[in-house]
Amino acid sequence: MILCKDLTCRYGEFLAVDRLNLEVPSGTICAFLGPNGAGKSTTVKMLTGLVAPTSGTATVADLDVVRDSLRLKKRIGVLPENLGLFDDLTVQEHLDLTGAVYGLTKEETRDRSTQLLRVLHLEHGRQTFASRCSHGMRKKTSLAMALLSNPQVLFLDEPLEAIDPVTAKTITDLLETLAQRGITVFLTSHILSAVEQFATRVVLIRKGVVAWNSAVSEIPGSLEKLYFDLVEAPAPEDLAWLGSAQS
């Protein structure tokens, strides 16, 4: 469902993603992990047509991400890094926009958005302008937009960050159900403990290069240990002034 061959992205002198090779079959929840600046979001941007690759190729839902970008957009749902919301539209108006653009009838849009807002605990904020929403509400709105059109592939950039625990659990359960129905989920996250629970495949990326790629069941020990070993280990530093006599 997602296939990358030597996918590369360069911003001037900076090599953000270096010859990425990846195959993610249908019905997989693929967690794409790495530290800030490792190339996760750039990869998502290339796979969703937001950024043109410098070299290499990628297909998503059997469509080339550059040549068939318009058709591709109709088949995917995306929760982008910056959430992609308009300050001048309310939560409901964002869903109305999505429904109209993806060819849903008004009734379908209303029914689906009501269900999504209920599942995501966002009914109370339905008529709130995006500019007045909390970060969590904005993230839920963007997620609802990604799901509304019933996409074949979902790209979620940090879907669990800034989300309350109940909604996070709801989202992970929902993603598992979607994967069982054959939808491919490609997500980035920094919450390793959560990812380990519901992802079926893990790809670790470090400085634009894949450091690990396997099924979750093939990870030796815990995901956290693997991450610290291969990607980046914490470097504790003692800030002696913290906790000392009040200044």
Partner: protein, 340 residues
């Protein structure tokens, strides 16, 4: 006092940056061309500009700091009151008012004029705390016209209404409409000229159509399964709607011809150099060259269509359609990625 001084210096920096956004009038067609054309005779137009700018300029400087942050700082009651008393003086308008008062006392000029200015300042200062709610209420009144692009047009209308360009154009349109209703002997040319002035006020906005979408909005455009010309059309539909409504009581043919040409020329900077805009300010236009082309082309088109032959609207429409097609394709180009 150390804490108060630290807060005041932070507020001062924020106020100075905010006032830098008023420099936008330096590249705004309306300001540039009215200053050039009218020079000392443009009193009424300058008054409109000054009044429109007074409200956002009058905002409470302390609002530059988020309320949650300021209430968390360990300031005692005395420090808070000092801060409250001193912070209005970070606004240059306050100094101008004080200077005006001293001048008025010495020269015994009309206190009523100074009173009106002070009242407007006070209103702007007070409303800066309530403005958000009032704007939300107004924005909700703008309906979704329906269809594939309905929600985008609705959003674009709201964006347009949050610029001073629109309010300036509205005041000009209202003034001219009242004049037309009162004086039935006024020559037709007056209203052709006023339509052009209304379009001049809106023309800089047509050079920065994506300026209020923010990073998130621009990302969403690239994710939506829409073609570039459709995204641009949603922008233009909102602009044309406003332009037609504002020039309808004056000279609608001239207004429509001017609006089509203003958009056709404005697409280039709108798509190629997206300039972030600030709400409740005049739009920051493109470099002066584009503004000159825009203003001359719209003047010729409006004059021709309203004075010579209404069919001259067709070439205006054709020029607009070509521009829509061309710059729509540019929006789709992932290597150029103008919306990325």
């Amino acid at each position: 006092m150390v804490r108060v001084r630290a807060v005041l210096s932070a507020v001062w920096r924020a106020v100075r940056r905010g006032q830098g956004s008023f420099a936008s009038i330096g590249t705004n067609n309306f300001f540039l061309f009215t200053a050039y054309l009218f020079q000392r005779q443009g009193g009424f137009l300058y008054l409109i500009i000054a009044l429109l700018m007074l409200f956002p300029l009058s905002a409470d400087p302390l609002r530059k700091i988020p309320r949650e942050r300021i209430t968390m700082w360990p300031l005692d009651r005395r420090e808070w009151w000092i801060l409250r008393a001193l912070s209005p003086w970070l606004n240059p308008i306050m100094w101008l008012l004080a200077a005006g008062t001293i001048w008025a006392v010495r020269h015994s000029v009309s206190w009523s004029l100074l009173g009106i200015v002070a009242a407007l300042f006070a209103l702007g200062f007070a409303l800066s705390d309530l403005g958000g709610g009032a704007w939300d209420t107004l924005a909700r009144q703008i309906p979704n016209p329906g269809g594939l692009l309905g929600a985008l047009i609705q959003k674009n209308l709201r964006q347009m209404l949050s610029t001073l360009d629109f309010w300036c154009a509205l005041l000009l349109s209202l003034s001219a409409t009242i004049y037309k209703l009162v004086d039935h002997t006024a020559p037709k040319e007056t209203f052709l000229f006023m339509s052009l002035l209304v379009m001049l006020a809106l023309s800089s906005y047509a050079q920065c159509l994506f300026g209020l979408d923010g990073e998130g909005g621009l990302t969403r455009y690239r994710l939506l399964p829409l073609q570039g010309w459709q995204i641009l059309l949603a922008k233009d539909a909102a602009f044309l709607l406003v332009a037609v409504i504002l020039t309808l009581p004056l000279n609608p043919v001239a207004g429509l011809a001017a609006a089509l040409i203003v958009l056709a020329v404005g697409h280039d900077p709108s798509v190629k150099q997206i300039k972030p805009q600030v709400r409740w300010r005049f739009s920051t236009g493109a470099p002066i060259g584009n503004g000159i082309v825009q203003v001359f082309a719209m003047s010729i088109a409006a004059n021709g269509a309203s004075r010579t032959n209404i069919l001259l609207l067709l070439p205006c429409l054709a020029a607009y359609a070509i521009s829509l097609h061309w710059y729509g394709r540019l929006l789709e180009d992932p290597s150029a990625a103008p919306l990325a």
